[in-house]
């Protein structure tokens, strides 16, 4: 049995708690959250004990932590956990500041801690199959990647105020997917943003509608389009064009029911948002993490992936300002 402590009992923390509680090899031993109600809810559902950080990390029987707390606490908890000899699963981003990110990565490197970053989409069954089939040469050499990534609805103003902006909160997942699917490191990036959906974004000098083009050294290209609102639900599609064909993966719907009537032929909208759409990928990324803690493999997606996606966010912000294709300085 692998004893795990969960940091953060919010929405994504609850998703992880559910997956940990159902895992045959895991005991969710502790939950840490400054909000007693949230912690209590998870404790009730899973039997985890509510403790503070020091107790959790001081317990030698805890071999791993899952960090799903507020973004600004990620790096600090991760460093303390690494120093305490724990394996770390950390939600993205490591930190909104690249300096603190690097400081955290130094500690992880020095301690040799197992570290997996929460880029869950890599574990989505469809995107995983797509990647595997690229590697199996079904479409030859990759040439262009098109990523459509649209949230169903804007964030609350409160969430916006405490967040790191759309690029660092939302596009970061797409940047990771771009790196993953391109099969080469993006070396240049162009970004542009608009305020078309909600004035709340513009108020924070942020964008609710954005487009990106990334290039690799060999000339591979990737386009990303983002919007914070899609009336039809969470729109998450990837299309990869290669020398011998195209692979694409799309949305998931609750049912396969189709209605034909006097108006149209209509079927279900995509699943509403990430909790539903990526349910399988959240479970699979923790399965993978448990295998890593168990010594069976190394994390497929580690600290360096978190850092590089963050640098792409920074480059995008620079490109919006300069109006230029900016070099990516990893």
């Amino acid at each position: 049995m692998i004893n795990i402590c969960l940091f953060g009992a919010g929405l994504i923390g609850s998703v992880h708690a559910g997956n940990l509680a159902r895992h045959a090899k895991v005991k969710l031993r502790y939950v840490v959250d400054p909000r007693p109600d949230a912690a209590q809810r998870i404790a009730a559902l899973t039997g985890a004990e509510i403790v503070d950080t020091d107790t959790a990390l001081g317990d030698a029987e805890i071999s791993a932590v899952v960090i799903a707390s507020a973004t600004k606490t990620h790096a600090q908890i991760a460093m303390q956990a690494a120093t305490s000899g724990k394996a770390i699963f950390c939600e993205k981003p490591i930190d909104l500041d690249i300096g603190r990110t690097d400081a955290c990565l130094d500690v992880i490197k020095k301690t040799g801690a197992i570290f997996q970053i929460g880029f869950n989409r890599r574990f989505d069954p469809s995107f995983r199959a797509l990647k595997r089939r690229i590697e199996a040469q079904e479409i030859g050499s990759v040439e262009q990647v098109i990523i459509t990534s649209r949230d169903p609805e804007p964030e609350t103003e409160e969430a916006l105020a405490s967040g790191g902006g759309v690029f660092r909160e939302m596009t970061i997942h797409d940047f990771d997917m771009a790196r993953h699917m391109l099969g080469e490191e993006p070396t240049e990036l162009f970004a542009t943003g608009s305020s078309l959906v909600s004035p709340a974004y513009a108020k924070l000098s942020d964008f609710d509608t954005a487009m990106f083009i990334l290039r690799t050294a060999s000339g591979r290209q990737c386009h990303i389009n983002n919007s914070v609102r899609a009336s039809y639900g969470y729109d998450q599609r990837v299309e990869v064009h290669g020398s011998k064909g195209m692979l694409k993966a799309g949305n998931r719907t609750p049912t396969s029911v189709e209605l034909s009537d006097a108006r149209a032929i209509s079927r279900d909208k995509p699943l509403f948002f990430f909790v539903e759409r990526y349910a399988e990928s959240y479970a699979a990324e923790l399965d993978h993490f448990v295998e890593c803690v168990d010594g069976k493999r190394n994390p497929h997606v580690g600290a360096d992936d978190g850092r590089k996606a963050m640098i792409l966010c920074e480059t995008a912000l620079a490109s919006v300002k300069s109006g230029r294709l900016e070099p990516v300085r990893y």
Copy 2:
């Protein structure tokens, strides 16, 4: 906590065991199976204790049983469980013999036992949504139902020899679906069978390829087509035509990946067989059963549904012989 005993540790028993083990309100207390290996496997996975029938049914803390044992044992275990005051979830059919089925139903009626039959397809998210949308009058009055139901591969000769024939083993699910979707009781039935796939079926005077037409008193019609082999996987589709439109529900695929290449545009085959295709419905039917045991509702699909589907099987066998549209005598 509801203490449950599982009878039968075979393929379908294992599916139920997994769903019971994950259920927050259930403790899978006992498993009963004459085959020690099979029982042991489930015991190891779930922590259930291996006992014999009398011990299980004699334990007053057991409030419910799940019967997934060999078909010929269903009725006997169900009657004994009913007499012992247990709620019963029973795989279909209750018995291959209609006389023994009726005897069992008598006991259930007299004891007032909660009884749910394992017509899992009614709990499939897509078929359930389809039914709900019929009831919401999205297609007006039902006129015709088309059921496509094709297994991926023939049964082994061993399974065939011990089974009740294709109609009672396979079509029985479609007959239940027909009753469910027609919204009226079928009163007449025509059936025809062929031997096109495997001589093993013909050897037993059975059919591997069959078609059916059912009629209700008001003239609604239902077609079912069956084959024991579909190279592309388990083919499970329902199409309901009404006065204002058509609703259909189809197969599920492992991923949404689509490949476009010089040959074609191709996507995943349907999931292989019932364990994968109906994973959600197996979980949902047990959730429903637990709610019934918990006193929150009555089973949506009960002993009488098991009996009526069985009578449709008998009518189908009679029709094949007579070459006639046979009246259904419930």
Copy 3:
């Protein structure tokens, strides 16, 4: 230039007139119709001259006739045309009476006239491709055929009164498709009909909703479902199951536009009715006929196909009455 005379200037006559007028090798020389307005409309569009039957058939420069007049006139015109040495394209059915059909076929046989029956669906690009791919062994040996054939709306009472009933007017096309796709002659047939859509059909002891099962000598099976009303448009689908897979062909839509909004993902309904849905097949069957007149090939679908489909209609009527699987007596 092949000079052709068109008999019948109604809806389907107009479709043929348009295709003849656009054909590079054809001159639509005459149109014959007792209704001056209808004849005039086609004359104006195509430059054809309005004449009577004797003039048309007496003109030695006319080498072929296209018969799209009232059903009861088909056989008489066909016989006279055959005797006059013309090639004949005749809308189905040859006659509603099997005796008169046989009399007409005798004349055609004796004169050796080229004769093509208007089973246009065989020329539909999708059904044609499906058939070709069956013959290319893509699905191995054919086992079951499922034909969905639903008109968008009931006939007018006037049309019903003068017609031959739903089986002879509508299902006849499906019977031809069944023979075509089964690849073996149906030898037994079961039919059942209901009155669910419009009382006008029942008034004529006819059915507006019907289902059929056909069997061949080797045990291949075919299901047909019919309704005279589909709110979503003309529903014309064929599904062929074989030992190695399944081929299906479906409806055509006016555009590929798909709308995703807060309600659903919706796309176009099928094209409304046969004129739109089978536009390409009407053109292709006349192209084929012209090639036959030109001596390049023999009609793929001839008088015998018309006769056999008609016999299946008669067998279906007998089966509805007897409630039995009836032998087909060709």
Copy 4:
């Protein structure tokens, strides 16, 4: 009858010739082409007479010209036709040089000649329906447009050498579609190109793989992706995201046939190239032109549309060089 002269008897000239020959209100009177074979082929098919430019434009009975000759001759013929009082349908581009384009537009303006540019895609039934449904407010206010436009195979080296480069030959259609679907004029443009498919493009300092982002003054965004090779055929898709939903239109396939076998579920690739894919739009744009010549309406897509798309090409070339989001100077 409207007498028309066709300039250019190549591939696209033949498409126009076919559509003109079938048009009820048109007589294709003349064909002009310096290549006797090509001209002869069209003359044989349509009955057009082969003449030289001066004869054609000097004939007072000719009221319109269709210019499908070599690009470098477009402007000269258009100006001479305008001065001769003819209505003009001209293939894009008017000229590869913006100065000569402007000179031509001056003459057209001064003479008041009817002028339609050959942006045929606006007449595609699906794209036309998509545009109409945007205007009907089905998706609210347009926010982002995604255009996928991929040719099935690279140009021959010969065609490349005589052409104006990928942006002016291929992307120009997408730029027109972008303007059309955005509903606002693009004011800024970013472009990037790579050489991944064929060295022939790089040899001419051209690109075979490109991506674009366009912005309008209000912040609407459009992405275009281009490749000169798609193994699966001509890939022509448009996706328009608005405040209330998304509309998309896709490829067309030769048939609706779908094969399910042990490998996958597969359907037809898209139609091979523009002649097949846009067959209906080529016919519809000439129908529209004839209506304009007939005085019933003004061209929906005129000289200014040709000029503006050309300016977007120039801006794209500038952006590739500068690596910047370039302002569009119309």
